[in-house]
Every structure is written in structure tokens, then in C-alpha cells.
């Protein structure tokens, strides 16, 4: 397939080509699945963006870190009740996980993307090489590609303020490596409970509810949640199991 690819060795070069409308290539899975002629690609693999930094108040993930690399980090098992590896294992297959990157999964967003929902649940901050910082709620309020002009995601920062909370993640799909029909992430935080959904719409949806009148709150979520068409299952079914799963988790 015809096209052009540039592999910059430093951030300055990358910025230059981003201005020329080159499309960032992270893990490559999304772009290579949607090939078109005459693509102009900017390969990010030499920008040294794959790292995991453990700070006192946060964990910082470089945008080119792969899911596979994250799953090898023992330290991530000890926070949020092991939520992070649990959620990461619901992403595709082992082979996919060696290629999918943090940045790629949040920018090339799909209804089934896990990291957007996870980062939303964990109140993360998304940083770009242009030094902008977006809170997850802003970043995932619209399709990130439309939000970022020539910006490039460089890092995701997960705050550790709630690291002692026990998070839950449940995925419903036909097979283990399948895209979710629905995934639900839950994190109890101070006086409330944070809930995210995957697979119901393009963007993840966040709900923050009080810890009492749980049944009413779940009904409320059931009414407010946006569910798009999916050839695999009806909207009514998805709404019902969302409520069923939440009821079970929040008992």
C-alpha cells in the first residue's frame, strides 16, 4: 500500500511533522486495520515514550507503553484492589496486548476501548508533548481526535489518592478475547461510588452515585445511560444487563 512514514528520533522532529498533518502511529493496530492509500504516518516508536514512572502521588505511563508491558508490572497489582491488571486483561488477546499502546488506545478510541474508561474511572490526567494537560473527564467528553489539534499524547498520569480503594471490573462478552458487549468498572471513593461503562457508546460514560438508595441510583443510570446500536445485541438487553451487573457488584 502506498504511503509515507517518518520515524522521528526526538520530540522536536515529531512536532514538525504533526504540523504537516502526519498521523501518529502508535501500536499500529487501528491504523493498519483501516488502511487507505497515501497515508502519511508518523511512527512514534523512537521517541522514548514507553515508560512507567512511580511517583509519590501518581503513576505516570508513557504513551507508547504497551498493555503487555503494563501487565508485567507487579506494583500495579497492589493498587485499587488489583483493578488495573484485571481491566487490562480484558483487552483483546495476548498478541494484541503486546502491540496496543496507552496513547493509541485512548486516542484511536472505539466503543470497546478499555483504557479511556479505566482512566476516567481513576480520574487520570492526559498530557501532551505540547505541554497541555487534560483531565480525563474533559479528554473523553468528545472523541479525543477532535479535541487534539496537532497535539500528541505523551503521558497519562494516574493519581494515587484513591489507591487504597478496591475497584471492580466486569466484562460481558461472548468469548474471553471478544470486544465487550458491556464492561463495567466500579471504584468506591470517599462518600460516593464511581462507575464507568465500556461498549455502550463510542465514549466511556462515567456516573458518580451516592452510597445509599443504590437501587434507585441504578435505575437512574439505566435511564440516563446512552446506548448505541450494536449488531450483536439489542439496546434493551444492554440496558438490562448493565443494571443487573451493577446490582450484583454494588450489593
Amino acid at each position: 500500500m502506498t504511503g509515507e512514514i517518518i520515524i522521528p528520533e526526538n520530540i522536536a522532529q515529531a512536532k514538525k511533522y504533526l504540523k504537516q498533518k502526519f498521523v501518529p502511529l502508535a501500536g499500529g493496530t487501528t491504523l493498519l486495520l483501516n488502511r487507505s492509500a497515501n497515508q502519511k504516518l508518523l511512527d512514534l516508536s523512537k521517541l522514548k515514550l514507553n515508560y512507567i514512572k512511580y511517583q509519590k502521588k501518581s503513576i505516570n505511563l508513557g504513551a507508547m507503553t504497551t498493555i503487555g508491558e503494563l501487565l508485567e508490572e507487579k506494583k500495579l497489582e497492589n493498587i485499587f484492589g488489583g483493578l488495573i491488571p484485571k481491566a487490562l486483561l480484558t483487552i483483546g488477546s495476548n498478541l494484541n496486548r503486546q502491540m496496543i499502546t496507552v496513547g493509541g488506545n485512548i486516542v484511536g478510541i472505539h466503543p470497546w476501548s478499555v483504557l479511556p474508561a479505566l482512566f476516567l474511572l481513576l480520574n487520570s490526567r492526559i498530557k501532551t508533548i505540547q505541554k497541555k494537560i487534560y483531565p480525563a473527564e474533559k479528554f473523553f467528553a468528545t472523541a479525543p481526535k477532535s479535541l487534539l489539534k496537532n497535539e500528541l499524547v505523551s503521558e497519562v498520569e494516574i493519581p494515587l489518592a484513591w489507591a487504597k480503594s478496591i475497584g471492580r471490573w466486569e466484562k460481558l462478552s461472548l468469548t474471553a478475547t471478544d470486544y465487550p458487549l458491556i464492561s463495567v468498572g466500579v471504584l468506591p471513593v470517599e462518600e460516593s461510588i464511581r462507575i464507568v461503562t465500556v461498549g455502550l457508546s463510542l465514549l466511556p460514560q462515567l456516573f458518580i452515585i451516592a452510597r445509599k438508595n443504590i437501587d434507585k441510583e441504578i435505575e437512574n443510570i439505566g435511564e440516563k445511560v446512552k446506548i448505541s446500536q450494536d449488531i450483536r445485541a439489542s439496546i434493551e438487553y444492554k440496558r438490562e444487563i448493565l443494571k443487573n451487573i451493577l446490582t450484583d457488584i454494588l450489593q
Binding site: L174, T175, A176, T177, Y179, I231, S234, I241, I245, D248
Partner: protein
Amino acid sequence: MMDEKIKKFQEVNVSKIKVDGPALVSGQPSFVADFFVPNMLWAKVLWSPYAHARIKNIDPRPALKIPGVKAVLTYKDVPRIPFTTAGQGYPEPSPYDSFILDNKVRFVGDRVAAVVAETEEIAEEALKYIKVDYEILPAVFDPREAIKPGAPIIHDEKEATTALPLKYEPQRNLCAHVDMQVGDIEKGLKDADFVLEREYDIHYGNHAMIEPHITTVYFDSNGRMVIVTSTQVPFHVRRIVARALNIAVQNIRVIKPRIGGGFGGKQEVLIEPLVAALAWKVRQPVCLKYSRAEEFVSGRCRHPQLIKLRTGVKKDGTITAIDMKILMNNGAYGAHALTIICNSGSKVLPLVHSENISFWGDTVYTNLPVCGAYRGYGATEAYFAFGVQMDEMAEKIGIDIVEWYKKIHIREGETSPVFAALGEGRAGVEQKITSCGLDKCLELGAKEINWSEKRNQKKTGRFRRGVGMVALMQGSAIPEIDMGSATIKMNEDGSFNLLIGATDLGTGSDTILAQIAAETLGVPTEKIIVTSSDTDLTPFDVGAYASSTTYLSGQAVLKTAQKVKQQILNVAAEMLNEPAENLTIENGIIYGKSGKVTYQEVALFSLYEKNQFQIVASDSHIVHKSPPPFSAHFAEVEVDILTGKVKVIKYVAAVDCGTAINPRLAEGQNEGAVLNGISYALTERYIFNERGKMLNPNFDYYKIFSTADLPEIKTILVPTYEPTGPYGAKSISEVGINGPCPAIANAIYNAIGVRLYQTPFIPDKVLEAIKKAGIK
């Protein structure tokens, strides 16, 4: 000649390593795509976007102008000779309703035209430039509608015909029919204490073999056409390509190298006539390989069936009536239309005794993807209906289903009127059962799953477990119709060339046939060099289907090896100057009173020394019965009542295949069939839109199991000895796929008290049934 005593086997019933194993496990060039042919061109097909349309006008000229495009074929460029794509013996019992290219399209994904170009990319691009004017016709997708008066006629061409005098009424979209009656059904139902009548709906499935269809055609130095193709039926390919292109069989050679799975999807002469026509046109090598999406849509599928099953049973468990009516959807063309629906009856109804049996089958055309042979071959669909009804009936009369099967299944020495009544396009063949290990299968399977304890366990909470089971049989080869043959020649070092038409699609037939030859010749399997599936070099074999290769081709190999052994003895007799009858053979050495000679010495003598000749023999075999392998399947499932998701926890398949020539390969066949059946029951399906387009032609949305979904699967081989099979063997490759749909449905009922009559058991359907039943 052969010892009458059943001695201990040396080479059969041994888990030998596959003869092609080392090449496969090291990625040696073995598959069609691995052979680089100089000057090879690439083909791509233009597929129909409409479910039913006439091609009013088609203009390939804009596509021909593209640099690198060598040819574009439309229906105007190929002979208008109807044939069937079904890989069956001649005359094929499937309708001749296919053309290489036609002026009508009959499903979304049907062939419109084909391009040959220097690269795949150019060929793909050129497709867009072929101008087609369609006259869109009304389409029909529901077989119940297709058979009603006034439905659009899918095959209105005058050339569509049958090679045998069979019921074929394309003007009402009927592409096959079969019926049989034994006794008096209505009387049987009246005599019953309980009558059950249910309708079952079994769905579309895809083989999903990991290597899609691929064919390369080139011309050898003498200008003969050589077809290297991923097929289960090389000899049928040769004959059908000759017919479709109107060229002589002798001008075609078909070679099957290693192939990446078939499961029936490659028991089809699917793309070879087209690729041959393209190569013929450009006089250069041409390769066509299906993409995964093309494999789903324009390959072949499992036949969906709508089954009405009525049974009448007495309180004591006697079945007084079985009445099965099937409406089968063949899709847009009639490959295997008659034989599969016959098989739905012939492999299911004889399992249990009943004096009154009625079977009615209609196969119809619809404007949907084409169905064809798929492991189980109609038995899979019918066993869902039968296995679920038996379980439901057992509950009605208050008997444990396992005990009931033990009481009423067909036994050694017995027969069923169904065998004679239901053939495959011709009269069926009466047979007595001469080996049956079903009782042992039932006993061992029930024990392994812990049947009594698990059947009665309490079910509460969100995740509820249950167990279910089904008893099964299939067949081994097609009696009186199919033939296999072998040639064996001896080399000077005491090794042998085994030339067989039989087709190894990953099943290991090269290996087990070598084992049979080795056992007969009294040499280690490693002394046998196998060449298979080359129409120039190997003698005829119908190919890999109907669970034939061990039972049919194996016996041909055994007979051939016996002839070769006799020749060896005759030479040894000359060398030792003793009568051949006095000689004995042990481990490749022939012993006489006066001395001994080795196989190697015999070979050298015969080739070089005196009265020289090549020790070589050929023989063929047809079978006169189709001894069923029997099996009992037990499934433990867990149902999530909040989402409807069903998980299989443990699956036990106990199977009687006679003697397992290679136990490890036999287990592997069983395990592969079972897991295919499980995902077919739980996660595989075709999603169509209202215009007949398949929406999920990829592994993203057509789900098959990975290792992460694997339940505990236990295979129990129950040995019996089938006297008509080589070293007591029957078959095993198909029967395992028939169990999961009924066993899982029955287990779901045991877990949550809900009967499912429609496959697959996907979460939303199960949840719907749970809610309807009011389960909390």
C-alpha cells in the same frame, strides 16, 4: 496369508508421531501459498452487492485499461455448462445449478466477474472499474417463505438440472426432497402414553478453518494444466473442472499439498473452475486466495434447519413413534442439498428402536450464502432436535435419560429399517450393527462427569450449574458408492512407497494409512513413504468426507499391503528354495526351514538379481455397510442468570470408534470436533441485515473459542472391534461435533429449568428465556 489370531498390534493402535509433523512444526513450505511459481498472476473476484439480481449489462473494458491487468472474465467469457460444486462421486446427487460465472446473482457475495493482474493490489483496484448494470429482483431469505407459491424463483435458468432422477423443483425453490415411512405413525402416536411435539431451529455456521480457500493453477512444460489447491476432493476437482471448462480430464492434474483445515468446507469444487478458466485465458499461472471475509460470505456454511419432531413414548420407555420433518435452507445454490438432509435422518433415527418412523425432508433455495458439507453433515442439526426431545421425554416418563438410552439404543446384531430406507440419493443399504460400545460410553461418561450427584444438585444464586447429555452415532463411509485405492511399491532398502488418493486435511490420514500398511507388511511405520492426493501419481480415492478415510481407504491400503507381502514371500521362497506357505515373517525378516532373508535382501534380489521385477501392487475397496461410531457426551454448564451467559465447565466425550489406529490422533479429532460444536452452540452465528448481507464476516464478530475459553474436555476412547474395518477400525472424525448443542441445551435445562429450542444459546436469547420463565 494373514494370521487368523488377533496378535498384539505393533504399528496400529499406537500413537505414532505424524509423518508430516516435523515439516509442519518447523514451518517448511507445505501449503498452497508457500509455492512460488514464476510469473504468477493474482486473481480477485467482484462480488454481488445484491441478494437477487440479473446482470443486464457488464462492461470490463475500463478495468482492462488499468496497467497490470491481464484479463477480466464475465459470464460471456466462460462456457455455459451447469455443474455442482459439491465434491461427491459421479453422478453427483446435488443439482447442477452453478456456472463458473453467470448472468444472474443470487446472494450478497455471489460471483459477478473476475480479474487477473500482476499484483493483488492492482486486481483489487481493477474490480471497481468493472461496470455492471443490475436489474434488482425481489429476494427471499426465509425458507418457509421460499417454498410458498409466489416466492421469487431463484433458479429460473433452463440449464439447471440434476444428474440423477431426483425430485428437483426449482420453480418452487425446492432443490431436494426425501421421505420415508416405516409402520404407521398415527397408530404409534395413539398407542403412546405421552406425545411430545416441538419445533427446533438450528442456525448458520462457518467452518472457520484457519487457512481460507486458495488455488494456484499453472501449466507444466507440456502445456497440461496443473491445479494446486486446498481441497478435500482432488479427484472430484479434476472431473468437475474438466466438465465446467469442457476440457479433457487427461489434460488436468490436481495436487493437494498440506492444507490448513477443511471440516467439509473444502469438500467443494469452489474456486478451481474459476481459477482454471482465468489461467486458461492468460496462459500464465494464476492464484486466487480468499480473504477471511470472502471465506465467511462466499465460502460454504452449515445448513440451517427448521425441524418439527414428534415422538410418542410409553410409560415403560418404549418409543412408539418418531416423526421428524425438516425444512433445510441450502442458500442460493444446491450443493449437498439431498445428501445432507438424508443424513439428518439416517444418522439419527436408527440410534433408538421404534416400530413407527416417519421422516420428511425438504431443502429449499434462499438468497443467502451457500451451505455445503460441514462436519456432522446434517446429523449435527438433527441431533439437536433429537437429543433435546429425548431429554424432555425422559423427564415426562420419569426415567433417567442415561438409563433410558441404555435400554433402547440399537445393539450389536440389530438393524434398523432406516438404513435401507435412507441412502444418499440412491437406495440405502441395509446393515446389521457389528460393533457397539455405547453402553460402556454411557457408563464411563456418566462416571467421569459425576452424573447422579451433579444432576440433582441444588441451583441457587447468580451462577447456576447443571449437567446434560446425549447419545450419538454417525457412520463410516458411504456403502456401495465411494471407493478408495492404494499402490505400494518396494525399494531396495526394504522401504515402501505408499501412494494413496486419500486426502489428509490435517486429520493425519497419511499417518494412519502408513501405520496400517506398516502393520500389514510387518515393518515399522517409519519405513513407509507416503505420497497422497496427486491425480497423476496416486490411484483414485473419493477424498476426505463421510468419515471414510480410515474405514474405506484404510481397507484398500490393507488389501494392497497383503498383495505386496505375498510377492515378498514369493521372492523369499525363490531365494530360500522353499514353498512360500512354509515361510513366516517377523520384524522384516522372512524365516524358512533352510535359512532367513531380510526384506532388504528380497528387494535387492527382485530388482537386480534374477527374474527381476518391481514388487508392486494396487488394490481398491468399496464398503458394503457403514458401521457407526457411537458416542455419549456429557456437559456441565454454568448459567449466569443476570446476563444469560452460558459457560461450559466440563465436557466429557466417550466414543467407540472401533480400534483407534492412532489413539492420540483419534482423541485430537474428538477434541477438535467437540470444541467446534461447543462454540457453535454458544457463540457462533451469522448476522444478516434485512437485505441479506452478512454483517459479521470476520473473527471480530464471528466468535470461535480461544485457549482462554477452553473448558475441561475429557475424551474417553472405548475400544471395540469392528470386523469389517481395517484392524477393527471404524471412524471418529465427525461424530463428536453432534453432541454439544443437545448436551448443552439439556444441561441448561438442568441448571435453570428452561428449555431452549433454538441455537445458538447466546446471552440475550438465554436471558429472554430466563425472564419468561420468571427465574430470579
